[in-house]
């Protein structure tokens, strides 16, 4: 996987520890709302790695302890389940600052500005950028500009490195003479580094979209496997369903739908790669079919496509796919599904042979072809055939 969003609660917890401060925020869900002192007022935020929460109305300010439950219930009605509560900090908007850090090939790039807040995009010209190293003179420059001690910037860089962070944004940062307030913190970590850090794990990753059960099942499969699986439902009522292999080849085939003006008909995107075994392709295919069967339409097209694999065994992976088709045979036939296959690679003769045999025997044959057909054309053929079908 790649860069994923840490929940703000977790990100702050780790940061405060790094800074040697105690963090007085709390994590909350509808089921568990912490009991907090009635002397203070609070801010309640949706904490699922969502950008622009303030503008989307996902932050509630000046909430008294007794109203916390109400506030959380209101937010949960919008489809969210993870929240955080912090004591309300009041400050003058002119004290708002902006600070972000990003890992690049050249080093950690720090973007900073004397201004901050939710409209930072409109104040782009005031944001300065510099490549920063831990013992750099640029740290002093940043700290002067923002009015924070240079040790604070240094600690942030350490925090960034120790926790395998890829991107960090504090907006606004409120630097007062007495104290520094980190009002909003967004952190992206490198999910591949989970093994190397004890401070966070996959449970601390915010899910910024609501996932279908099938999407969730495939994510679980991906987490448990040596191979890679992804699946996103784009349009549940789309005509074109895809079961693709390989990062590049899957994009090429999906692009063809868009290029032919059928982008809106693409029901899903996803791919598998890294030589999964047949049990895994079976599970993947089953989840995809489950998602497909929820469609109200009939005569759907399923494109099983991929390039010429380097080391993925076509015989083995297709064996799992066919097993899943066989299990769901009745449902697929009832919906009059047509299947179009284009694939190459190790053991391709066997894989394509068993696929063609099964599809013909079960009346789902659209086309089965090897690398003699250019990669993207399988999509073209499926679309053309659907037009005749309709």
């Amino acid at each position: 996987m790649a860069r994923v969003k840490l929940t703000e609660y977790k990100a702050k917890q780790i940061l405060f520890q790094q800074l040697g401060l105690s963090y007085d925020g709390a994590f909350a869900s509808v089921e568990s709302i912490p009991h907090l002192s009635s002397e203070k007022t609070y801010v309640v935020k949706v904490d699922q790695g969502i950008k622009g929460r303030m503008k989307k109305g996902l932050v509630k300010l000046h909430i008294s302890a007794s109203k916390l439950q109400n506030a959380i219930q209101e937010l949960s009605k919008k489809g969210y389940s993870q929240f955080m509560i912090e004591p309300m900090v009041s400050y003058d908007p002119s004290d708002e600052r902006y600070l972000s850090m990003e890992r690049t090939r050249e080093g950690i790039v720090v973007h900073y500005a004397k201004v901050g807040g939710i409209d930072i995009e409109e104040k782009k010209n005031e944001v300065k950028s510099v490549v920063c190293h831990q013992d750099d003179a640029s740290i002093n420059k940043i700290s002067k500009e923002l009015g924070v001690p240079s040790s604070f910037i240094q600690s942030l860089i350490e925090y960034f490195e120790l926790n395998y962070i890829s991107f960090l944004e504090i907006n606004p940062l409120v630097a007062l003479a007495s104290t520094i307030h980190i009002i909003d913190l967004a952190v992206e970590v490198d999910s591949t580094a989970e093994f190397f850090t004890k401070s966070w794990d996959s449970a601390d990753i915010g899910e910024d979209t609501v996932k279908t059960p099938e999407e969730r099942a495939i994510q679980k499969l991906n987490n448990q496997s040596q191979a890679a699986f992804s699946f996103t439902l784009l349009n549940p009522e789309g005509l074109l369903w895809v079961l693709l292999s390989g990062g590049g080849a899957s994009i090429t085939i999906a692009d063809e739908a868009y290029n032919m003006g059928f982008g809106k008909e693409l029901a899903n995107y996803g791919e598998y790669s890294g030589n999964p075994n047949d049990d895994e392709t079976y599970e993947y295919t089953c989840s995809l079919i489950d998602s497909m069967m929820k469609s109200n339409r009939r005569r759907l097209m399923l494109i099983i496509g991929g390039g010429v694999a380097n080391f993925t065994d076509i015989g083995k992976t297709f064996k799992g796919v066919i097993k899943a088709l066989e299990k769901n045979k009745k449902r697929l036939q009832k919906k009059e599904i047509k299947i179009f296959v284009r694939r190459g690679g190790p053991n391709q003769k066997k894989g394509l042979f068993i696929m063609e045999k099964w599809l013909k025997e079960n009346d789902m044959y659209g086309l089965v072809t090897g690398p003699e057909l250019p990669l993207h054309e399988i999509m073209k053929i499926a679309i053309t055939s659907s037009k005749k079908h309709a």
Binding site: Y164, T192, L234, G247, I251, G263, N310
Partner: protein, 611 residues
């Protein structure tokens, strides 16, 4: 900086970290089909065995396996020019840095694993950019890369496929003038096929891998193609996300890249979504407008690149590349694969066993390379036994003579020893020859007959680590152990074992005898403590044999360790003493006294201890 032409000219000697059999086998098949005389894979770092068996054409070949880099012999380390890291994403960084530090002639390598942290990839990037540990032209492709391929010369990774048929279909033995790159491994294979199906041939191809920070950047691959005299065209499949293509645009503007380029940037579909999903690779996410496929395609077009808007257009551009004469003989004289060699690969099966001892050749048996009858008539028994046990012909008559002497000396050690007694008991119980002999042989172990191997272990440890004999004796004493090869029931310093004297005579034929010297020095220390702690027959045999094998048979210290490990020294005892046990069996059968039984006075009863 990757230098393709330099790699073409160098000797390809590859070390693999981790084993992925289909990938490694495909690299051997590539070498074989390219007409090379031996596999370019020289060593594998993996656990659990000493060798791994692969096909070389349709016959078997063993590639040595080492548990860690430390165990790889110096001459192999010196030879290695390339590596293929097949370990998991977790281990990539440490294992790669290790390689860079310990292989003096390393040029570069490829990283196969996915899920390598960004931070680790960047650490390797800065090591390659700034480190002084690698020679000029250094590079690392990956992570998450299927590798680098130079037709006829090199296949480093899964690139172009893992089946011999795929390699043949992709024409990767005929060098051409089209360089092919992609971050996607699958698309690299697809493009190689696309280009060669259109009758063009590849100059070189690589996949950078789909991570955010590939160690070898796309721009570096373009620069390598620019510098490569064989490359005239570059075919590139890019994806949405990142700014690599803009760097390329800059280089084209500055005329640093001038060769003909055809591109397709995948991911136009992403336009469809307000919030696009993560496409295939970690990098493939357009966060800003200029990262979209369309924006990149337009920018490339503006500087004269044939940047296709669709894959159909991309294929058309590739087809229009001027076809150069194919089937050009390899510049270095490698032949194109012959029909015969292809057929051999397609019909091969692994044998069940491999052996180097004997073979049946046209009806007559050959033993370690020599016809049996001629061996039996011309060679001594000591020579035949020594050669067979070592698995190769003895070089020196002195070794043969010594082994023959051991065979004789160990033949029996009187009727009272455990093995002989067990043989006699079994014989009197009416058991047959093989059962009675087995009963004696099964007695051989740590306390009976196994001392030669253990003594050899002591002497070799002392010599290779250059340990002071006093310290050595002390350290063994501290462990409350005895030194095998030292001590006798009867003989003492004032009454030495005459057999030991005869055995040690053999050291006179040697220029050096470090093991015998060490053994005698140990004896000095131990016999000063107690007069019967002298060098015995087992200890003397082990010491002299080690010295003979070292000097006369050119056997290295590592091989000596292996001989101890596989119980070579015990084999001599087993072999010789079988004569003695057999003699005792036959003797008992001739006397035929009936079943043997002990009386109560022989086995005393001690009441169980009560608390």
């Amino acid at each position: 900086m990757l230098n393709i032409h330099k790699i073409r000219k160098q000797n390809q000697s590859i070390i693999a970290l981790g084993s992925h059999i289909p990938i490694l086998q495909s690299m051997l098949d590539f070498d074989y089909l390219a007409g090379k005389s031996e596999p370019s894979v020289k060593a594998i770092i993996a656990s659990g065995r000493k060798n791994m068996r692969f096909f070389w054409g349709d016959s078997d070949v063993l590639i040595p396996v080492y548990p860690t880099l430390v165990e790889v012999p110096a001459f192999i380390k010196k030879e290695i020019t390339l590596f293929l890291n097949l370990t998991s994403g977790r281990r990539i960084l440490s294992s790669t840095l290790d390689l860079l530090d310990s292989l003096p002639n390393l040029v570069g390598g490829a990283l196969f694993a996915e899920n390598v942290p960004e931070k680790h990839a960047l650490e390797m990037y800065s090591k390659v950019k700034t480190g002084s540990s690698m020679v000029d032209g250094r590079f690392i492709v990956g992570p998450a890369s299927v590798g680098l391929m130079i037709p006829g010369h090199l296949k480093l990774g899964a690139i172009a496929g893992t089946e011999a048929d795929q390699l043949i279909d992709s024409h990767v033995f005929e060098p051409g003038n089209v360089a092919v790159f992609s971050s996607s491994g699958g698309m690299t294979g697809e493009l190689i096929r696309l280009v060669t199906t259109a009758q063009k041939r590849i100059s070189f191809s690589l996949s950078f891998g789909g991570d955010r920070f590939p160690v070898l950047t796309p721009v570096e691959a373009f620069l390598a193609a620019e510098k490569d005299p064989q490359t005239e065209h570059i075919v590139y499949f890019g994806e949405l996300g990142g700014y690599d293509e803009y760097e390329l645009v800059e280089l084209i503007k500055k005329k640093k890249i001038t060769k003909h380029i055809i591109t397709y940037i995948g991911g136009t579909i992403s336009e469809m979504f307000e919030k696009p999903p993560q496409f295939g690779h970690a990098k493939a996410m357009a966060n800003r407008g200029e990262e979209t496929a369309q924006a990149k395609t337009i920018a490339l077009k503006e500087v004269g690149v044939q940047a296709a808007q669709s894959f159909t257009e991309f294929i058309e551009y590739v087809k229009k590349i001027k076809t150069i004469k194919t089937n050009i003989p390899h510049p270095d004289g490698y032949p194109l694969p012959e029909g015969g060699s292809i057929q051999k690969i397609q019909s091969r099966t692994h044998s069940l066993f491999m052996n180097s001892i004997s073979q049946d050749k046209d009806g007559s048996v050959e033993i370690v390379g020599e016809e049996m009858l001629s061996m039996a008539t011309k060679r001594s028994f000591g020579h035949i036994v020594g050669s067979m046990l070592l698995g190769r012909q003895l070089k020196s008559n002195h070794t043969a003579e010594f082994i023959e002497l051991i065979m004789k000396l160990l033949v029996d050690h009187g009727p009272y020893v455990s093995g002989a007694i067990n043989t006699m008991i079994a014989a009197r119980a009416g058991k047959d020859l093989v059962s009675s002999l087995a009963s004696g042989l099964l007695t051989i172990g740590p306390r009976f007959g196994g001392a030669i191997n253990q003594a050899a272990d002591h002497w070799i440890e002392g010599v290779t680590k250059n340990i002071d004999p006093n310290d050595y004796v002390e350290s063994i004493a501290k462990q409350k152990k005895r030194i095998s090869g030292i001590g006798h029931r009867k003989y003492r310093t004032d009454m030495p074992d005459p057999r030991v004297g005869v055995i040690l005579e053999f050291t006179r034929m040697l220029k050096k005898s470090p093991h015998a010297t060490f053994a005698k020095n140990i004896e000095k220390v131990t016999s000063a403590k107690k007069a019967n702690l002298i060098l015995n027959v087992d200890g003397a045999i082990a010491a002299v044999l080690l010295d003979l094998l070292t000097e006369k048979e050119n056997i290295s210290a590592e091989e000596l360790h292996e001989l101890i490990d596989i119980e070579f020294f015990n084999a001599l005892f087993v072999l010789s003493r079988s004569v003695g046990f057999t003699a005792h069996y036959l003797d008992q059968r001739r006397k035929d006294e009936g079943l043997f039984r002990l009386s109560p006075k022989d086995v005393s009863f001690i009441p169980p201890h009560h608390t």
